[in-house]
C-alpha cells in the first residue's frame, strides 16, 4: 500500500508555484480576478476562469481593474489585479482613487524589460514600473525565485487586507523566465 501511494505521488505532476499562489489568494477570500490576458499570469487567469466561486473579469485596459477593485471593496469583497509591467503605465491616474480613497489594493505584476529581456520596447515600462507605482503610493515587493514567492504574496495579502495598504508584487523575469524572441 505504502509503495503504491509513493508511486502515485511520484507520477503526479508537481504543483506549480502559480497554482500555490492561486490557492493562497482563495484562502484569503479573494473573489474578483481582473486582468488583461498575459502569458506570465496564464495559470492564475485559467484557474479563475475555471473556478465557479470567483468572478473572472477580462479588461480592455488595466486602469479598469484599478476602479473595479475599488468597487469590490465598496461592496465588501476582495480582488486582485493581474497585469504586465507595461499595463502599470495604463493605471497611473486611476491610482489616484486608491491613494486618495485609502482603498486596499493588490496587484501581481509579471515583469518585462528586466532580467534577460530581448524586446527593446519592454524596457521603458520595465524600468519605470516600480518607481511610478511607488510615486502613486503603491508599495512594491519583488520576487525573484519560486522559493520566496509564496512568502512575498502572503506578506502582500497581510499588508493589503489587514492594514488596508496598496501593494504590488513584482514577479521578475528571473522568476518567470525571459520570453524568447
Amino acid at each position: 500500500m505504502q509503495a503504491e501511494g509513493a508511486q502515485v505521488a511520484a507520477n503526479a505532476k508537481p504543483m506549480s508555484w502559480q497554482d500555490e499562489v492561486y490557492d493562497l489568494l482563495r484562502r484569503h477570500d479573494v473573489t474578483q480576478f481582473a486582468y488583461v490576458p498575459d502569458a506570465g499570469h496564464r495559470i492564475l487567469i485559467d484557474r479563475s476562469l475555471a473556478d465557479p466561486s470567483v468572478q473572472s473579469v477580462a479588461l480592455t485596459t488595466e486602469e479598469e481593474g484599478v476602479a473595479l477593485l475599488a468597487g469590490a471593496d465598496l461592496g465588501g469583497a476582495r480582488g486582485v489585479l493581474l497585469m504586465q509591467s507595461s499595463g502599470v503605465g495604463n493605471c497611473i491616474n486611476m491610482l489616484s482613487l486608491i491613494e486618495a480613497g485609502r482603498f486596499p489594493f493588490l496587484a501581481l505584476i509579471s515583469m518585462r524589460g528586466d532580467f534577460g529581456e530581448g524586446n527593446p520596447w519592454q524596457y521603458p515600462m520595465g524600468k519605470a514600473c516600480a518607481p511610478v507605482l511607488e510615486a502613486m503610493g503603491v508599495t512594491c515587493l519583488r520576487s525573484e525565485s519560486p522559493d520566496d514567492v509564496l512568502a512575498t504574496v502572503t506578506a502582500a495579502l497581510t499588508m493589503v487586507f489587514q492594514a488596508g495598504r496598496a501593494v504590488a508584487v513584482l514577479f521578475t523575469q528571473k522568476l518567470l523566465g525571459a520570453k524568447k524572441f
Partner: protein, 208 residues
C-alpha cells in the same frame, strides 16, 4: 459635395436634440433613489446625485480618476448581487473609457445599470463641445459593445421607459439621457474619497 470634418456639419436631419433639463430629468429617471447603490462620475453627475440623495450613504461620488465610474460600479455589482447598482456618468467621463462598456457587456451582471447624462459638452472645464455633439452616439456604442438593453432618451415622455429599464435587474442596461448643456444643481458635497468610502461601507457592508 463638401467634405464634412467632425464638428463642422453632423447632418441636421439626424442630429440628436439636447432639450431636457437635467435638474428635472435625472430625478424623474431615477425615481426612488434609495432602491440603488449609486456610483457617479465627476462634475455634473456627482452634483445631480448629491442633490437628489442629499449626499447619501448609498452613493459614491467621484471628483477625479476620470473614466472609472462604470468599473467601480461593476466591482460593486459583482460584490453585492443583492442590490441594484446604478452608475450615473457624463458623456466626457464615459468617452474616456468606452472599453468599460465592452468589459461590462461580456460579464452582463444582472444588477448593473448605467445612465449616461449626455449634454454634449465638458461642462466642468468651460462647456467645450464633446464628441457626442459632434456626431458620436454613445447609446449605439453601448449596443455595439454587446449591452443588450439600451435606450436613448430625448423627451420627457420617454423617461418612464428608462425608469423601468434601470430597475429590471435581469442583465446590464444602458440609458443615454440627452440633456441641454445647462448647469447641474449647486450642492456642496463631501469631496473626500476616503470619507465617502467609509460612509458607504459603514452603511452597507459593516451594517449588513
Amino acid at each position: 459635395m463638401p467634405i464634412h470634418s467632425a464638428g463642422r456639419d453632423v447632418g441636421s436631419a439626424a442630429a440628436p436634440s439636447f432639450v431636457l433639463d437635467r435638474r428635472q430629468a435625472v430625478p424623474a429617471l431615477i425615481g426612488r433613489h434609495q432602491d440603488f447603490l449609486i456610483v457617479t462620475g465627476l462634475a455634473g453627475t456627482s452634483r445631480d446625485i448629491a442633490m437628489l440623495t442629499d449626499d447619501g450613504a448609498h452613493t459614491y461620488t467621484m471628483a477625479g480618476a476620470m473614466g472609472g465610474a462604470s468599473m467601480i460600479g461593476l466591482g460593486l455589482a459583482l460584490a453585492r448581487q443583492d442590490k441594484q447598482v446604478l452608475v450615473v456618468r457624463g458623456d466626457g467621463e464615459l468617452l474616456m473609457n468606452v472599453g468599460s462598456l465592452a468589459t461590462i457587456a461580456v460579464l452582463n451582471p444582472p444588477n448593473l445599470s448605467i445612465v449616461c447624462v449626455d449634454n454634449g459638452h465638458y461642462g466642468e472645464t468651460g462647456y467645450q463641445r464633446s464628441h457626442t455633439s459632434l456626431g458620436v452616439d454613445l447609446e449605439k456604442i453601448a449596443a455595439a459593445s454587446g449591452i443588450k438593453r439600451t435606450l436613448a432618451i430625448e423627451q420627457e415622455t420617454e423617461l418612464a421607459a428608462g425608469a423601468r429599464l434601470i430597475r429590471e435587474g435581469n442583465g446590464a442596461s444602458f440609458v443615454l439621457l440627452r440633456v441641454k448643456p445647462t448647469e447641474p444643481p449647486a450642492y456642496k458635497r463631501d469631496l473626500d474619497p476616503a470619507t465617502c468610502r467609509t460612509r458607504l461601507r459603514g452603511a452597507n457592508v459593516w451594517a449588513a
